[in-house]
């Protein structure tokens, strides 16, 4: 919620120019999650709740170690546990920390109709401003990662803020601080990319994970949360991580060409009616015939 000293470069549902459009900070921030070293301890889940001031909510047991089946409006951060059998029959237990990916091209922000309900800071963080949220859930529709969650009582949508309030004050996100294995890293996007590539190369060359790679999907302009995966060819195995995520085509048509076409048609209709009246005027009734 708090934007601190962060510069805003994109605002949802905003008429006119955005102050700070096209600005960039010295560097984009990025969270790097090396799933190969995650032990599923859930320290990040607890740290997230603590920092954001949410009480620990009711959990749902579904025969896995996963805290609950999906993220919730007051649960931004969830380790997904997946049992995976590879083609050669080897078994692996995949753990992926799921949260907002902070896309460079955020579908939620594109879809949102409420002025200032979603903002993107110049350092790449995408943040919801609940004060301006109208509860339409268009962001849920626009998100290719199924992240925003609706609070049906307050009619507001919530998601991971990448701890914009901490980052704005020069601190690292709470989950990073809590991770005991060092599987979570935080820094500039360039540094994290370099680190991720080194780690993926190490996995390919020194372990059996020959298909290891970095998940930074170009379809949404890259993300400010990246993963190192054992098998980059099969991100779906990590609990529904899409292989090639995009802002849905329908959302792009709706917010792009259809908007201009519709605006034009409405204005043309009104102008056309006025022009017709000036040219032809009202219809007259037949007089006098009995």
């Amino acid at each position: 919620m708090s934007n601190g000293p962060l510069q805003i470069k994109a605002i949802s549902g905003h008429a006119g120019t955005v102050p700070g459009k096209n600005t960039s900070s010295d560097y984009d921030v990025c969270k790097l999650i090396d799933v190969t070293t995650c032990i599923g301890c859930k320290a990040c889940e607890v740290a997230c709740l603590e920092w954001n001031g949410y009480p620990f909510r009711e959990t749902v047991f579904d025969n896995t170690y996963q805290t609950m089946p999906d993220l919730a409006w007051n649960y931004y951060n969830l380790i997904r546990f997946n049992e995976h059998t590879a083609e050669d029959g080897t078994f692996s237990w995949l753990m992926r920390k799921d949260q907002c990916m902070h896309c460079a091209d955020p579908g939620c922000l594109r879809a949102c109709p409420a002025d200032g309900a979603i903002v993107q800071y110049s350092n790449g963080i995408v943040d919801f401003q609940q004060d301006n949220c109208i509860g339409c859930q268009y962001c849920v529709t626009g998100c290719p990662f199924n992240i925003p969650k609706f609070n049906s009582v307050t009619k507001k949508v919530h998601k991971c803020t990448l701890c914009s309030d901490r980052v704005g004050a020069g601190l690292e996100p709470a989950c990073i601080k809590a991770c005991p294995t060092g599987c979570l890293h935080f820094g500039s996007k360039d540094d994290m990319k370099e680190l991720a590539e080194i780690r993926a190369k190490q996995l390919r060359e020194h372990t059996s994970h020959t298909k290891a790679g970095v998940y930074d999907p170009p379809g949404v302009g890259g993300t400010h949360v990246m993963y190192v995966l054992h098998d980059i060819t099969n991100p779906e195995a990590y609990g529904g991580l899409p292989k090639d995520p995009h802002v849905p085509l329908m959302v792009r048509i709706w917010k792009g060409p259809l908007k201009w076409l519709g605006n034009f048609a409405i204005v043309a209709g009104i102008v056309g009616a006025a022009a017709h009246y000036v040219r032809f005027g009202p219809k007259e009734v037949e007089e006098g015939k009995k």
Partner: protein, 208 residues
């Protein structure tokens, strides 16, 4: 307009019905336009704020559809498209340019009114079906998530089509056919009005 208003055009129930659709449609239109374009978001603020507008928009839509079903029960016979309507549509150019003597005589509603009626009726059904998906997106399973953006897109398309019809409807009744608004408010038109615009209906009603 001249002459005494002696011919009953709309009954009391028909007028209530019409103004209920007008009210609920206008509310959906205003709040919907606010969600449609950032340049029109101020409408939501005038109508009580974004969350309030978002909360009532779907309820108003449901109310509109309920009244539309009522209207359908009352008017669907009058609104059936006939052969004479097809002839009217062939001459629509003359109707638009006010050369009404070249246009075939029409029954209670002319073909343009009928087309507007069916457009709004099916438009409302399409808006409600797509609107339900947008109202309760959490019930759309993750595996069928593509339905949500498709529903939003179709909702906007259907709304734009009804807006087109709505602009013509309001323009025609307020500006080009004097007497229509009083007819819909108080129910009566003059014999000359009825003869000019709905000759077949007038003949049927009066035997002249």
């Amino acid at each position: 307009m001249t002459g005494d208003l002696t011919v009953q055009r709309y009954t009391y129930h028909e007028r209530i019905m019409h103004w209920l659709t007008a009210l609920t449609y206008s509310y959906c239109l205003s709040t919907g336009l606010a969600f449609y374009s950032p340049h029109l978001f101020w409408i939501a603020l005038v109508l009580g704020g974004g969350p309030t507008s978002r909360f009532w928009h779907p309820f108003s839509g449901v109310a509109f559809l309920i009244v539309a079903f009522w209207m359908h029960a009352v008017w669907h016979r009058d609104m059936a498209i006939t052969d004479s309507d097809k002839r009217w549509l062939d001459e629509v150019q003359n109707y638009v340019t006010n050369r009404d003597d070249l246009v075939p005589p029409q029954d209670r509603f002319n073909a343009g009114q009928k087309l507007f009626y069916w457009l709004m009726y099916y438009g409302a059904v399409a808006l409600l079906i797509t609107g339900l998906v947008m109202w309760f997106p959490e019930y759309v399973p993750r595996s069928a998530a593509w339905i949500r953006p498709l529903a939003v897109l179709l909702h906007v398309c259907a709304a734009l089509v009804t807006i087109g019809g709505f602009i013509i409807h309001v323009y025609m009744s307020v500006f080009t056919v004097p007497g229509s608004v009083t007819a819909m408010l108080f129910g009566y038109v003059s014999p000359a009005w009825a003869r000019t615009h709905h000759r077949k209906w007038y003949a049927r009603m009066t035997g002249q």
